[in-house]
């Protein structure tokens, strides 16, 4: 399969910003959509996407593939996803290391799994089948979690590393999720970043979360916090110029604020590049 492109600095495409994006054509390199929001028959969302797609690369990010569920893969969902991918021609398609329900139900949440060899074999097999069906390499994201399981047999970073290698998929490293899960479960987020294989990471997510003191929740309704910016810098030093973006899903600020966060990414990356040893002329 072709290597995934380096798209630069992107934003989550949300309806509240459609008009501003179309009228100002902001300096954003690409947009990521929530796939399910466009898996509908027609109307404004698809029309806006088509117009924005004319000017910007698009990545499709799903929340319902339920890769870790022990229910059968939902082929109706996958067919609809494939139809959307055929229409949008995204740079790639992504979803999560998570399950959303069993027994035919959907809890509309990214639910946690124990990091066991059984779960690993299970998700690897399903990612491989989805990749065969979609005829494209999947990009799979580490989810924020609030519980971990006593039955886990390995650390999360070991799980995602083995998953990516065995399924031959790519990883979407959500830097905020690493931080949130690290806080909630007491693992070292820096160690996580340093353990994930460089050649498997295709994308970064950055987002804000809610600090409930005893635990943190991945709400995407706040600016990125300083601890996550610090992790971002570490990730950038390790993974180089993979495509990166800001997710915002609630408490929407003026669009300029999101552009400001993108600029902060660019500034961090420029500072890292300036520090890099120059090769001999």
């Amino acid at each position: 399969m072709e290597p995934l492109p380096r798209l630069g600095y992107g934003l989550g495409l949300r309806p509240v910003y459609y008009d501003e994006i179309l009228s100002t054509r902001p300096a954003v390199d690409w947009f990521e959509i929530i796939s399910e929001n466009y898996m509908i028959p027609g109307g404004r969302p698809l029309a806006m996407l088509e117009r924005i797609r004319a000017d910007y690369p698009i990545v499709m990010h799903g929340v319902s593939m339920s890769l870790a569920s022990t229910d059968p893969l939902d082929m109706d969902y996958l067919n609809a996803l494939k139809d959307l991918a055929d229409r949008v021609e995204p740079a790639w398609v992504s979803d999560h290391v998570a399950w959303t329900g069993v027994h035919g139900l959907n809890l509309h949440d990214l639910l946690p799994i124990p990091h066991t060899r059984e779960a690993l074999d299970h998700i690897v097999e399903r990612i491989a089948r989805v990749q065969d069906f979609l005829k494209r390499r999947l990009v799979v994201e580490n989810a924020s979690t609030y519980v971990s399981f006593t039955g886990s047999e390995m650390d999360e970073w070991e799980f995602v590393t083995q998953m990516a290698q065995k399924a031959d998929c790519m990883l979407l490293l959500d830097v905020n999720n690493v931080f949130v899960s690290g806080f909630n479960h007491g693992f070292d987020a820096k160690r996580y970043i340093d353990s994930v294989p460089v050649d498997r990471v295709a994308q970064f997510h950055m987002a804000g979360h809610t600090n409930n003191e005893t635990h943190r929740i991945d709400t995407h309704d706040q600016p990125v916090c300083e601890e996550v910016w610090s992790l971002y810098e570490q990730a950038r030093r390790r993974f180089g110029n993979v495509s990166a973006m800001i997710e915002r899903d609630d408490n929407f600020p003026p669009f300029d604020e999101l552009l400001g966060e993108l600029q902060r990414m660019r500034d961090i990356d420029a500072a890292i590049a300036a520090q890099a040893p120059r090769s001999a002329a």
Binding site: E36, A47, Y77, L107, V147
Partner: protein, 265 residues
């Protein structure tokens, strides 16, 4: 424990709202910062909050009509009775009016169900399939002798509902930016067309003869047959004139997508 069993137990705790489920808590690792019930509770609470948000988003006028407490009781009831089988959250709220029609608590409240049906219709129109609307100028291309055999295709978003009288006024009052008094219940029924005009859902009341004409036209009846039906029902105004008014509205509102001539039978 096998992954399948763990997922079943975890899901059951979330669905029943039991963050103290001892079987599930036994599977959850201790945290240095928080107790396990609080952490499992994040999933339990998020489930209800998320599904409530889907309903809130699609039934804003219903919340106003019922008031916050009654609306939230309805939402809680619906969530408890209807765990989602939808892969896409978009369709979770769709069955709310049907649920109310079949519920002992709600089935006699026709006014409330009528408003729910209207709001569902508007949500469905929002993302119904696309189609290019036809213009009235296209009619000029047909010879006068062919007009009785004209048939019409309509925008896929178009739906016709029969609702309790006063539903549109309730909706208008409930969604007004001004604080408007919700109208009192009225007797009888009103008929409503709902469709999408470009990107936004639209609606309007239909008089009895337009309701008949539009229903017939949607069913594929020819212009001539529709004229006869309307003439039969409406003795006060000549049918061709009335039909011409309807056609002008249907075209200007973007309801008609294709005009064709029916084969002679």
């Amino acid at each position: 424990m096998k992954l399948r069993e763990l997922q079943s137990l975890f899901q059951s705790a979330v669905l029943t709202g039991d963050a103290e489920d001892a079987t599930v808590l036994d599977l959850v690792a201790q945290s240095q910062r928080s107790d396990r019930t609080t952490l499992l509770g994040v999933y339990v609470n998020a489930y209800r909050i998320r599904l409530s948000e889907f309903l809130d988003e699609d039934y804003p006028a219903l919340r106003v009509l019922l008031g916050d407490d009654a609306f939230e009781a309805l939402v809680e009831e619906y969530i408890a009775a209807n765990p989602s089988r939808q892969r896409n959250a978009r369709w979770y709220s769709t069955q709310l009016p049907n649920y109310m029609q079949n519920s002992d608590n709600w089935r006699s409240n026709e006014r409330v169900i009528g408003l729910a049906l209207l709001e569902r219709g508007l949500t469905d129109a929002f993302d119904a399939p696309d189609a290019q609307s036809s213009t009235i100028e296209n009619l000029a291309g047909f010879a006068p002798e062919d007009w009785p055999r004209l048939t019409f295709s309509f925008h896929p978003s178009l739906r016709i509902l029969e609702l309790p009288a006063g539903t549109l006024d309730i909706y208008a009052a409930a969604t007004s930016d001004e604080e408007e008094q919700i109208p009192l219940p009225a007797e009888g029924l009103e008929t409503v067309a709902i469709w999408r005009a470009e990107y936004d859902p639209s609606y309007r009341a239909l008089d009895a003869d337009e309701f008949l004409a539009l229903n017939e036209a949607i069913a594929g009846s020819s212009f001539g047959d529709i004229c006869q039906l309307v003439a039969f029902q409406n003795e006060n105004q000549p049918a061709p004139e009335r039909l011409a008014q309807f056609l002008v509205s249907w075209f200007s509102e973007g309801l008609v997508t294709v005009v064709s001539i029916a084969e002679r039978s």
